[in-house]
């Protein structure tokens, strides 16, 4: 019994960290731009494909296959996806910054569709699932008779490191300070000379890069990647961000853990629970949006009348 508990706890924390990383991207973008970037999940899930492509290219170029290629490719993919995020902002999302929020939402939903279809068409055999290896395999240690893999350790460590780095970046660097100022009040920030463009570019880059890491971990956890993983990743990551509170980093982490928790609980205790997990998650999202729309840790916004 204890074994089951510990095993599930490990799953929970691993999955929770992955969702948290996804949620952070949503929260970061929303906090600064007040736009819900619905296609963030799809952007994030381009990274496994890009990593696979780069790894294969490296293998061909050098003539030798090696697991190291994937690690290198993964790092490169993170950077590339960061750039993709920035480009998308420049080409599409920027135009909707001051538009009515509903228009921005529909536009980003459509953008998600476009990204998914592009993956499907541009990647060879894009409609099929592609195997994605664990980025770290093997058992690290045992606790209460349960084996904890290196992968789980990797996920948790990476999450801690990223969150700490992000925190430091936002609090301690000048650019981070400007981002926080812009998220408090964009108009005033602009009047104080904070240049919109740099702040938004940085925000999108960081958010997309973190999303890319989440995407790689997600694919790794699942063992495969599919062109439409972005839908699930987006919906789950976004729900986590909303539950925790859009615009709040700690909220994103909390939300990620809650969603992962629901998923693990549903899988363990409800027969055929896996297919129902979305139902539970979304019922919770609906509940939160109804009773505490600013999320558990978010700030309520008062509108001046």
């Amino acid at each position: 019994m204890a074994e089951l508990f510990v095993q599930q706890a490990v799953n929970w924390i691993t999955l929770g960290c992955i969702y948290a990383l996804l949620a952070i991207g949503f929260s970061l973008i929303f906090g600064v731009l007040n736009v819900i970037h619905f296609s963030h999940g799809d952007v994030a899930m381009t990274s496994p494909f890009i990593a696979l492509a780069i790894a294969q290219a490296l293998a061909i170029a050098v003539g030798v296959a090696s697991p190291a290629w994937l690690i290198v490719a993964a790092c490169a993919a993170v950077f590339v996806v960061g750039l993709i995020g920035v480009t998308l902002d420049k080409v599409v999302i920027r135009r909707f910054r001051d538009a009515p929020p509903m228009m921005a939402l529909v536009a980003t939903v459509a953008l998600g569709i476009v990204i998914r279809e592009l993956i499907r068409h541009l990647y060879p055999q894009g409609s099929n699932p592609h195997a994605f290896p664990r980025l770290a395999s093997g058992v690290a240690f045992e606790v209460a008779g349960v084996q904890v893999g290196w992968f789980s350790l990797l996920v948790v460590t990476l999450t801690f490191v990223l969150v700490a780095l992000l925190f430091a970046f936002l609090r301690l660097t000048p650019l981070g300070l400007r981002i926080r100022a812009a998220s408090e009040d964009r108009v005033v920030a602009r009047m104080m000379g904070i240049r919109d463009t740099r702040v938004f570019r940085a925000t999108f880059f960081v958010a997309s890069a973190i999303g890319a890491i989440a995407g790689l971990l997600f694919a790794s956890y699942a063992g495969v990647t599919r062109f439409d993983f972005g839908v699930m990743a987006g919906l789950l990551g976004f729900s986590a961000a909303v539950i925790g509170g859009l615009g709040s980093m700690p909220g994103a982490i909390l939300g990620g853990l809650i969603i992962a928790g629901i998923e693990v609980l549903a899988q363990t205790f409800v027969p055929d629970g896996a297919s129902y997990r979305l139902v539970f998650v979304f019922l919770l999202v609906i509940g939160v949006l109804l009773f505490r729309p600013e999320g558990l840790l978010g700030r309520a916004v008062m509108v001046k009348v």
Partner: protein, 391 residues
């Protein structure tokens, strides 16, 4: 939005002629595009259409003239429309594929008109409109299969069921706004689809089969339709049924739009706080929009179920909701004619561009973004209400 209401006064005869000519042109174009084979013919017709729009943009007087003609010769206009709709299947002949396209286009027109109440008139995003469509279809199908209920009886029952669902989604709308509301509707849509997929009595992922064809006065809709010696394929039955539904939808839309209700929706779209300050119970009107949308969507769903006699959760996904939303956005927000044109265009074109069918979703996505960036009010922007000239 077209401003100013300086509608030219035209002679009765001229108005009637213009009304008839405009409709015949439209019908002719529709016929051509339905019969077009091969990518080039379609692209040619599309180019013609684009040229038409360009002309309308440059010379808005044309649009004003046509609209004025319609309102000045209403009997002739409606009469011509009736004749065109009734005779179309005869002109098409026994081309069942074309009839099928028309049926689907008409059903989507109804769905788009239904969504227009929320999206166009009230600016409430509803990504769950596919779910109301699906609930209508499933409820009527289940009633027919399990209880042998006749199609005509399942219609109102399914409509009521879907309306209740509409009220259910509407309740959160009272307290949430804008993007959060959109999320709630997305969440509801996903929940409904997952439930349909997983519950055994809805047939699970395999759906429901064997929905019996409706019959009217002993004539089964599965049989060919014989009129004055002319024999039309069985699809014609559903064509006329769905055309009738489109008429109902148009009448509903017009009556609501020009009434106190339509004004209240437009008010809450423009400024919710100001709307409240005029005494509009915003919460109620939001819920109402959801309910009306669900009601009409259920009718479309029921007809669809009995037409194809087989439904599955895949027919009512999030993507379906997005498609319907595209039709409203592209066609024209809060413009009845525009929405119908949008529905027809976005149903027929993807079918005709079969060569590119694999790119259909990509096309949709790009089209939505394009329109939202360049022409968010749609092909046919909303028109100002006019109340006749006063001194």
């Amino acid at each position: 939005m077209s401003a100013g209401s300086s509608s030219p006064t035209i002679g009765q005869g001229k108005a009637a002629t213009i009304a008839v000519a405009a409709q015949l042109c439209g019908a002719g174009f529709l016929y051509l595009i339905l019969k077009a084979e091969g990518g080039w013919q379609v692209i040619g017709l599309l180019a013609l259409l684009a040229a038409g729009f360009y002309l309308l943009e440059k010379r808005p007087q044309i649009a004003d003239l046509v609209t004025a003609s319609f309102s000045q010769a209403p009997v002739v206009a409606v009469g011509t429309a009736a004749v065109v709709v009734l005779l179309f299947p005869f002109v098409v002949g026994s081309n069942t594929y074309v009839l099928h396209l028309l049926i689907v286009a008409q059903l989507y027109a109804v769905l788009a008109l239904a969504l227009n109440f929320q999206l166009g008139s009230a600016n409430i995003p509803n990504f769950a409109t596919g779910a109301s469509y699906g609930i209508g279809a499933y409820v009527s199908a289940l009633l027919a299969i399990n209880f042998g209920m006749s199609f005509w009886l399942t219609l109102p029952v399914a409509a009521v069921a879907a309306t209740l669902f509409g009220f259910l989604i509407g309740i959160p709308s009272m307290r949430t706004r804008d993007t959060y509301l959109a999320l709630v509707t997305i969440a509801f849509g996903v929940v409904v689809q997952q439930l349909l997929n997983n519950l055994s009595w809805t047939g699970g992922p395999n759906g429901l089969v064997g929905i019996p064809a409706p019959s009217l006065f002993g004539h089964s809709f599965a049989d060919p339709l014989v009129v004055f010696g002319w024999k039309l394929p069985s699809q014609a039955n559903f064509y006329y049924l769905s055309a009738a539904l489109v008429v109902v939808a148009i009448v509903t839309a017009r009556r609501l739009h020009s009434s106190r209700i339509g004004l209240a929706w437009n008010a809450l779209r423009a400024d919710e706080i100001a709307a409240r300050a005029q005494g509009i119970n915003v919460a109620w009107f939001k819920v109402l929009a959801f309910a009306v949308d669900a009601f009409l969507a259920a009718f479309a769903g029921t007809i669809y179920a009995f037409y194809v006699s087989y439904i599955s959760p895949d027919n009512f996904t999030f993507l379906v909701s997005v498609t319907i939303m595209t039709m409203v956005i592209v066609g024209g927000m809060d413009n009845i004619f525009g929405v119908i044109v949008g529905a027809f265009l976005l149903t027929i074109l993807p079918e005709k561009l079969r060569a590119f069918s694999d790119y259909r979703l990509l096309f949709f996505g790009i089209v939505i973004i394009g329109f939202l960036m360049i022409r968010p009010q749609g092909l046919f922007p909303q028109r100002m209400r006019s109340y006749g000239e006063s001194k």
